[in-house]
């Protein structure tokens, strides 16, 4: 089984978010970067599938040189080799184009990634990659089992779960509880040193969006406690102060 796992290099979930360059650039100063948590689930499931079925895992990231420690971690967790597309991930379309190019050449049985990144949270890349490759794309996938040439998949839908069967190859945007995150062990970290990490230049520079500027959400206000008997005051505040009704 030949699996491609696409990972993002994103700020740690506890990072303080701020901007520079007149709110046009994310300030990375002091920010720790991690494998996107949803991508990390996809990678963990890929490692399990490889343990069960054999095969090879290739991990792919679209990013500049500073993402390599994140890629090495994926290799330490269990990927066999890595590809870095040497470009800043400008938008979902740009990233999907790069992934599709690698996927076309790689003849993968499965293309896994997170349901969405946790920086821009677009959740679009898996769908675009499926379209570009002419194969099914499913998301958010919570369960994934392989039987021969078929996958059994559970997908989260509004108010329930959808169980599907799909023929390989296909694209999946993953989320918990598809697998438990794996912590790399010391042998894996040592082994990652010698695994190949191939850097290739981007194929197509086309983007569909341009960035205007960033804005932080308004700071949370203080909580006002209103006596349960005093409904009229609550209504008054919602209408005249919060202006939501």
């Amino acid at each position: 089984m030949n699996i491609l796992v696409c990972i993002t290099h994103v700020p740690d979930t506890t990072s303080k978010i701020s901007f520079t360059d007149d709110n046009k650039k994310f300030d990375t100063n002091g920010v720790q970067f991690i494998i996107g948590p949803y991508d990390d689930y996809a990678l963990a499931r890929a490692v399990e599938l490889k343990e069960q079925n054999g095969g090879k895992i290739t991990v792919l990231n679209v990013g500049e040189a500073e993402t390599e420690p994140t890629i090495r971690k994926a290799l330490a967790i269990g990927a066999d080799e890595a590809v870095r597309i040497n470009a800043f991930p400008k938008d979902s379309f740009f990233v999907a184009n790069q992934i599709a190019k690698v996927a076309k050449e790689g003849n993968y049985d499965l293309i896994l990634m997170g349901r969405e990144s946790i920086d821009f949270n677009g959740g679009q890349v898996h769908g675009m990659v499926g379209e570009m490759l002419g194969m099914p794309s499913l998301s958010p996938v919570m369960k994934l089992d392989i039987e021969g040439n078929t996958a059994k998949v559970a997908r989260e839908i509004e108010g329930g779960k959808e169980y599907l069967e799909v023929t390989l190859p296909f694209v999946a945007g993953c989320q918990e509880p598809i697998a438990e995150w794996k912590i790399p062990n010391m042998r894996g970290i040592m082994g990652a040193r010698s695994k190949p990490l191939n850097v290739i230049e981007p194929d197509n520079d086309e983007v569909k969006t341009t960035l205007e500027n960033f804005e932080l959400p308004p700071a949370k206000g203080a909580v006002k406690m209103i006596d349960a008997d005093n409904v009229s005051e609550l209504v008054d505040l919602l209408k005249n102060e919060a202006k939501v009704i």
Binding site: I183, M186, M190
Partner: protein, 407 residues
């Protein structure tokens, strides 16, 4: 004030809450580490948050040694990280070993003791002084956590003076006969093998590998400890134990052999104790910002700020000292007295920080909701074992003056 009131008033990390630990890096010492070092640190930190932090207060309260952690330590690679990969070790450098010990002891000194005894005191002597057959037989099983090992040097009547040991072995033709007893032995009750230091008939100290099941060998558990309660401690008793001759470590004899093991372990303690100090500091810093008295966070008061500032200062100094010592060890240039200085400094620093951090937490600080009391009690062992605080002072004194005060 009742405990309930304290709980309601105190904003708590608490036993059930997530372990949010972050290590301070005030002097950007991460710049001195490689990306691989940082990945090792974050992986062990994640391991501790998953496998140790959620359970440690309960284990310590019940004086329960979680034997299943041995296999987990083996899987993550915490046993013998500096031992060659040929024998199942990690093949890592001493900075990596230090970071692993720091992160495990950040969780608990008892857990770190389990790991550092296995790595520095059992695997290290077999790796350095063992025959090829011994290395192949024991090291992979110790590295994977299939077997737990222990190290027998200290005796009931010989602690700071190990050369006075009375445990001895006699040549009985095709085997040795071992007699004596060892005390305060971490891992002993659950250990499959023991690396035991004993005198031959001429009074020369040698290392012997004693295996569980050998007739006359027993490992009674030491009960009633108020420290390292989640680690298991016991005695080693040898009553005419027949030890095969191939179990003698051939590579080195004399007191220098076990002392080399202790150098490696003490280095791990120097990093580990600062891990415990960081945990106390991190908890105190969060609490000082969240806890409101007189209408404002207690962190706004000068006396609290003084405590926190002094903690950060001492942690930062020790971090740099440990890093430099690791670089010297990797270059084969660290001396015993340099290791003594770091072990002594780190443990004293950690004890002070644990006490100050406990005070910042007020009444909450005495409960198992926060880690300080556990660390503080653990550190009373750490300040005593592997060379007491005073003995390390005298090692430095001998180094300075050329006149040993302990012979």
């Amino acid at each position: 004030m009742s405990t309930d009131t304290l709980t309601q008033n105190g904003s708590a990390k608490g036993k059930s809450a997530a372990d949010l630990f972050e290590s301070p890096d005030f002097y950007q010492l991460d710049d001195l580490l490689t990306e691989e070092h940082k990945l090792i640190r974050s992986s062990i930190r994640d391991f501790v948050k998953k496998e140790i932090s959620p359970f440690i207060e309960d284990w310590a309260e019940r004086a329960h040694f979680p034997y299943e952690i041995v296999k987990k330590f083996g899987d993550i690679g915490a046993f013998g990280p500096t031992v060659s990969e040929t024998y199942g070790g990690g093949g890592l450098d001493y900075i990596s070993y230090g970071l692993i010990m720091q992160e495990i002891e950040r969780g608990d000194s008892g857990m770190r003791s389990t790991a550092s005894v296995q790595g520095s005191l059992v695997m290290y002597p077999i790796y350095k002084f063992g025959s090829e057959e011994q290395k192949k037989k024991y090291l992979p099983k110790l590295a994977s956590g299939e077997w737990l090992g222990c190290f027998g040097l200290t005796e009931p009547d010989h602690g700071s003076n190990p050369s006075g040991m009375v445990t001895n072995f006699k040549d009985a033709g095709d085997h040795y006969v071992l007699n004596g007893a060892k005390m305060w032995i971490s891992n002993a009750p659950k250990a499959e093998i023991a690396v035991v230091w004993a005198k031959d008939e001429s009074g020369r100290i040698h290392g012997l590998i004693v295996e569980r099941g050998m007739e006359g060998f027993s490992t009674p558990e030491t009960h009633g400890k108020w420290s390292l309660r989640a680690s298991t401690t016991g005695e080693l008793v040898f009553d005419n134990v027949k030890v095969p001759k191939e179990n003698l470590l051939p590579g080195k004899s004399g007191l220098g052999a076990p002392m080399m093991c202790l150098d490696s372990a003490r280095y791990g303690i120097a990093w580990g104790a600062i891990g415990a100090a960081m945990d106390c500091y991190d908890s105190a810093r969060r609490y000082a910002i969240e806890r409101i008295q007189f209408g404002k966070p207690i962190g706004s008061f000068q006396l609290i700020q003084k405590k926190l500032a002094e903690m950060l200062t001492e942690i930062t100094k020790a971090q740099l000292l440990n890093w430099k010592l690791g670089m010297m060890l990797d270059a084969g240039k660290a001396s015993t007295s340099q290791i003594s200085l770091a072990k002594r400094n780190s443990v004293a620093t950690a004890l002070d920080i644990a006490r100050e951090a406990r005070q910042i937490h007020g009444g909450m600080g005495i409960t198992g909701e926060y880690p300080m009391m556990r660390h503080m009690m653990n550190l009373e062992s750490v300040v005593t074992y592997e060379g007491t605080h005073d003995i390390h002072l005298l090692i430095l004194g001998a180094e300075i003056t050329g006149i040993p005060a302990f012979k």
